[in-house]
Symmetry: C2
Subunit: 303 residues, 2 copies
């Protein structure tokens, strides 16, 4: 598998070789487990962004401006691959530019691609993510470890365990004969596979996606996956709040990366030239909110 | 959601509007439920294929030649998106050319992309597949119907239910409290959602992926999904045989599309100029084998 060129690694950082360490240290440095979801949709772009350009060019310009606005304010960004793939080959090229710039700006990149396959196909998807420069990739665990292990090898993977959408419960909430939910069983598979690579902070290169919208499951899922960094969507716009994510932290206020997308990247209230300052302010607000939740979790004790 | 231009629809066909009918009629016309998996890997290409070109160009040239060899011999082709995405934007552009040519040649295109997401991201993936020209797309059902319904709307989707890889059983074979396996529960979700759109031959635009390597599950999965066309990988190279796929057919010898990849596209025994005739011969052999299995299923009675 190829690795990204060293020129795309930010010069100021000296990243740990283990992906979990690098992510946790980036969170530590900024002071909050905050990740901005970069889900650019043409209809919601500020009208001042390249109004006469092609759709894919506007998406790219907007995304690059968002990166400038959030860099240094949050430790990580999560580009949504679908928003770029929707424009075919040109969209994939734009995504590559966006990921490259994010890394230049020192952001940890979580590629939200939700890929999953087996054998050589899984390896191909992993290579594509690595060539793009993704530090972590979201993956589908339905195939078992064969589907997600190729995404490790010096990078990290977040396996879908409990998704934030209402329909996700249709399968994920079903009860097994042993009393666990399907999501907990998936978590168990992830935890077991994850033990093969643990960084010096005690976390694995194999994390899990656990939505902020299921507080009733949070403690059980954290207990099933003690060494998994949890990528937590659904905070803010999707309804998850502080009380929903707090049980996911460990007793040191660590082990979580919370994502917010629309509430940050569309935070502008006018189409004017100042839109990106409002995005920066929203990123600051997200950092403050999540920093406080992490601090409270550390004081109150997690699992 | 956009639709492909009418110029990419083969002139000779007058396709039914319902994707299940179109697929079943294509199978009927050729006489066998055979689908060639197009998983081109650089290391396995015949050396005579564009030896001095770039990797992605060689992949494309090979794929186009395979399409010429198999057109008219099998009803459908299943391009593996990962094999193209591995080359980034250039690979996606090559995939678009390959899908367009497959449709010109009258092949039903099953895009093997295994996408899955929610909300606008799911819609974007579905749009990308439609813009490419895919008739059907493979999708991940872990999100529930919200994840796969966007792929319908005049096209079809095959949801991953029971995959052919050994690791797939880690989650999919677990027993629920009600006695079903996780795969059967996924099948139940697919069957219920699929009833919203049934073609005149009695099959839904929502199919399911069921590997040929689990004969013990075959009858139960078919019973759980009576109106799903089953996309069956794992035949041939992965070990599935005639007895493994026969229980998946309905009593008319219908309702199944069996895929074979390596045993067809790499059927050449030398690197010489005649490699594509050997691929054509392998496609003919696949058609004969599967035609006979379908006939036997019709005589012997399925469920």
């Amino acid at each position: 598998m190829s690795t990204p060129s060293s020129t795309s690694t930010p010069a100021k950082a000296s990243p740990s070789p283990h992906p979990a360490d690098r992510l946790l240290e980036a969170i530590e440095q900024v002071g909050a487990p905050a990740c901005v979801g970069l889900d650019p949709v043409l209809e919601r772009l500020p009208s001042v962004v390249d109004p006469d350009a092609t759709p894919v060019h506007r998406i790219k310009t907007f995304s690059l401006a968002v990166l400038e606005a959030i860099a240094g304010r949050v430790p990580a960004v999560k580009p949504q691959s679908a928003c770029f793939e929707r424009y075919g080959a040109a969209g994939v090229a734009a995504l590559a530019c966006v990921v490259e710039r994010a890394r230049e700006l020192g952001l940890v990149v979580v590629l939200d691609a939700k890929r999953g396959d087996i054998g050589i196909s899984a390896s191909h998807y992993a290579t594509a993510a690595a060539d793009l420069g993704a530090d972590w990739t979201t993956v589908n665990g339905y195939f078992g470890p064969e589907g997600f292990d190729p995404f490790r090898h010096g990078r990290g993977a977040f396996v879908l365990v409990r998704t934030s959408n209402p329909d996700g419960g249709r399968l994920q909430s079903l009860r097994l004969a042993d009393g666990r939910s399907v999501a907990e069983a998936m978590g168990g598979i992830v935890a077991e596979a994850g033990d093969a690579s643990i960084g010096r902070h005690g976390y694995s290169d194999l994390g899990a996606v656990v939505g902020a919208t299921h507080p009733e499951d949070a403690a059980r899922l954290r207990a099933a996956m003690p060494r998994q960094i949890l990528l937590v969507p659904g905070f803010g716009a999707q309804g998850g709040g502080a009380e929903d994510v707090r049980p996911l932290f460990d007793r040191n206020g660590r082990g979580v990366l919370v994502t917010a997308s629309r509430s940050v990247i569309y935070a502008f209230d006018s189409d004017g030239a100042g839109w990106s300052e409002q995005v920066a302010d929203a990123a600051d607000a997200l950092r403050s909110t999540l920093g406080a939740i992490a601090d409270a979790a550390a004081e109150g004790g997690g699992p």
